[in-house]
């Protein structure tokens, strides 16, 4: 299988300021030296709590932030080396669907104009071609053709998310970044959208970068999962293996904190003490050690490397030498 997108040693640091005119006071390492890849037609799930860097990762992939260090390769080409035409092509190939379909669709535009906008700005197409494509896209996401002439307020949340998906697909992308695509929707609507996303993946061979805090949804949708904590990848591997037998103590705590799907589902509950520390002053050594139930003296001194453990990558001193 060929990698569609590869991130190698990717970092994004933001300068932190104090006060109105204060100078730089350190940096926030929002994403710190992470590597991952997304294969054609596959889904990579990213999980982690607030401040873990998953949104920054999505922005880096979308080209909305430039990495401080490291590289992203798409279809084998380094993004940093692309010329204007190459960048334009990249922007077309990577599209996004965001969390809140009430905020992401302009209330003043008709659905046809919303869906056609990326098409018109990116390609030289005739008006009749645009119309034909819009109707095709509506069909693809399961909306009736008459939707084209309506406004967003005439649709429910689930239908709006279908419109947002149609817009993302307008320029035939290869990779779609899905940032919490169902968490703003009603429970009975979520399964419709998740099913639609899977069908579209099968039909169009799309790759997804799927970001969500609902671990069961991520496990259901993803082929591989990356678990992040304070800007670092702590564990990565096959979705099913990782969800069932997490190795890193943080992954174990996170998956045990996920709510059960049945009242008789009993599992070991690992309730972590404390909260995620400030990314401005991450703990030395392993960033998870102050909250880790298995912390050892060396965890405070040396950051563990990401190593291969039983078919997945884990960054923890409990494993390896």
């Amino acid at each position: 299988m060929s990698a569609l997108l590869e991130a190698a040693g990717l970092s994004k640091h933001f300068p932190a300021r104090r006060g109105l005119f204060g100078g730089d006071h350190g940096v926030v390492r929002a994403v710190d030296d992470i590597s991952f890849s997304i294969d054609n037609g596959r889904t990579l799930g990213v999980v982690g709590e607030s401040g873990c860097g998953k949104t920054t990762t999505a922005k880096l992939v979308l080209g909305l932030e430039t990495p401080t260090a490291g590289a992203i390769r798409f279809d084998g080409r380094d993004l940093a080396g692309l010329d204007a035409v190459g960048r334009r092509h990249y922007r077309k190939s990577v599209q996004a669907v965001f969390q809140d379909p009430f905020a992401s669709l302009s209330p003043r535009m008709r659905i046809s104009a919303i869906i056609a906008e990326p098409l018109i700005t990116n390609e030289a197409v005739t008006a009749t071609d645009v119309r034909r494509r819009v109707l095709e896209l509506l069909d693809l996401v399961g909306l009736p053709q008459r939707s084209a002439d309506l406004f967003p307020h005439e649709f429910s949340g689930g239908q709006r998310q279908r419109i947002a998906i149609a817009r993302a697909l307008a320029v035939s992308p290869k990779l779609v970044v899905l940032d919490e695509p169902v968490s703003a929707l009603d429970v009975s609507i979520r399964a419709q959208i998740l099913n639609l996303l899977r069908d579209l993946q099968d039909r169009l061979g799309l790759s997804y970068l799927f970001i969500a805090h609902d671990l069961a949804a991520v496990a259901h949708m993803s082929h591989e999962i990356v678990v992040m904590y304070l800007g670092k990848i702590v564990e990565a591997g096959d979705a099913r293996t990782l969800a069932r037998h997490p190795k890193h103590p943080y992954t174990q705590a996170l998956f045990s904190a996920a709510l059960p799907s049945h009242p008789e589902e009993r599992r070991e509950e690992v309730v972590l003490a404390g909260e995620v520390p400030s990314p401005l002053k991450p703990p030395a050594g392993c960033r998870f050690h102050p909250r880790c139930p298995h912390a050892m003296p060396r965890c405070a001194q040396a950051a563990p490397a990401l190593i291969q453990v039983e078919g997945r990558m884990v960054a923890c001193h409990l494993y390896g030498t």
């Binding site: 309506l150 429910s156 239908q159 429970v187 419709q192 496990a219 259901h220 904190a257 799907s261 009242p263």
Partner: protein, 350 residues
């Protein structure tokens, strides 16, 4: 546990009426529920199903447009519907407390934590400011906030989201209520912080013999925290009973569909069982069962006549013709069930 339930609602209805009286939204319609002391009840429903209105009805904290139009509301042997506003003020915060979803919005940014946690104690028990502060320190400790002596002097912006939510919890239990209503208490929290908070609530429930009502859209919270469940759809309780029994064998097609639509960690399924269509508009409900248009098992009678609440034994009820005694059933007919992807739903004005 006493024989008399702590809270009992009988055929309770709350409607929102527009100014001209032309539009009536039946937000809570004919709800019958009872809850014994020490139990924890999960009320599950989608947005607009009436679950929050039901909570506000129990507290009589409804907005001006809403009216409790019928039914009985008995708490601890007293009919709350007949109480005056000033009598209700002595119930709220003291005997029934509520924890809201957004801890940032429920704390006042201008008052110290000590003042806010101590306020109910001063109001309900007439305690002095100094002694209320003393009690606040103890309450913060009981919600596991480190160095509470320092924290009482601080302000909400100095706390993290998880701490704020625990402070709101401390305010909730400050006067030793018998019933605590938590409305989506963890939606704004991260997973590991949510686990901490649920763990804390369970601990408080044990130590203070609290009766809990969880208002949530999340069946996982119910599975972890509750022993009883009421499922609401379009203002009505469509199914209720012991949590484990409902999860094992849901009686109402809506509950079945809801449980089937949840992704699971151990999923082998390629596709989830989606519920097609949209929830109905509460201002113009169909004459029959409100779920009929989305129900895969609907038959002719469902569209014509709303099912009453059938008793299934073991404290279970369901509002579905399929749960009726066999004589009440009619043969299946070609009742329309929507096509692909909500295309037929209300938004498109077809």
């Amino acid at each position: 546990m006493t024989a008399e339930p702590l809270l009992s609602l009988e055929n309770l209805s709350t409607h929102y009426v527009s100014q001209q009286g032309s539009r009536v939204v039946r937000a809570v319609d004919d709800v019958t529920l009872s809850l014994n002391a020490g139990e924890s009840l999960g009320i599950v429903g989608e947005s607009g199903s009436g679950k929050t209105t039901l909570a506000l009805t129990i507290l009589r904290l409804l907005p001006p447009a809403a009216r409790i139009v019928s039914g009985r509301l008995v708490f601890d042997g007293e009919d709350l519907r007949t109480k005056s506003d000033s009598e209700m003020r002595r119930v709220r915060g003291k005997r029934i407390a509520m924890v809201l979803q957004d801890p940032m919005a429920s704390l006042n940014p201008l008052f110290s934590i000590g003042d806010q946690v101590g306020e109910p104690i001063r109001v309900h028990e007439g305690a002095s400011r100094a002694s209320a502060w003393q009690r606040a320190v103890g309450l913060l400790k009981s919600v596991r906030i480190a160095s509470p002596e320092m924290r009482v002097r601080q302000y909400p912006h100095e706390m993290s989201g998880g701490m704020r939510q625990r402070i709101v919890g401390a305010i909730g239990i400050s006067c030793g209520p018998r019933l605590l209503i938590a409305d989506e208490p963890t939606t704004s929290l991260d997973l590991t912080i949510q686990a901490q908070y649920l763990d804390l609530l369970r601990d408080l429930q044990r130590r203070h013999a609290l009766t809990l009502i969880f208002i949530t859209h999340n069946l996982g919270i119910v599975a972890r925290m509750c022993n009883r469940l009421a499922v609401m759809y379009a203002g009505r309780v469509v199914e209720q009973g012991p949590v484990a029994r409902i999860f094992n064998a849901p009686a109402h097609p809506y509950t079945q569909a809801l449980l089937g639509s949840l992704p699971r960690m151990s999923d082998e399924r390629e596709r989830l069982t989606a519920i097609e269509g949209q929830p109905p508009d509460l201002a113009s409900l169909p004459p029959g069962c409100a779920f009929a248009a989305r129900c895969p098992m609907a038959f002719a009678r469902c569209a014509a006549e709303a099912p009453p609440e059938f008793t299934l034994g073991e404290g279970r009820t369901a509002r579905c013709w399929l749960a009726a005694p066999a004589t009440a059933r009619a043969p299946l007919s070609a009742h329309a069930v929507g096509g692909e992807g909500g295309a037929h739903a209300e938004g498109i004005g077809g």
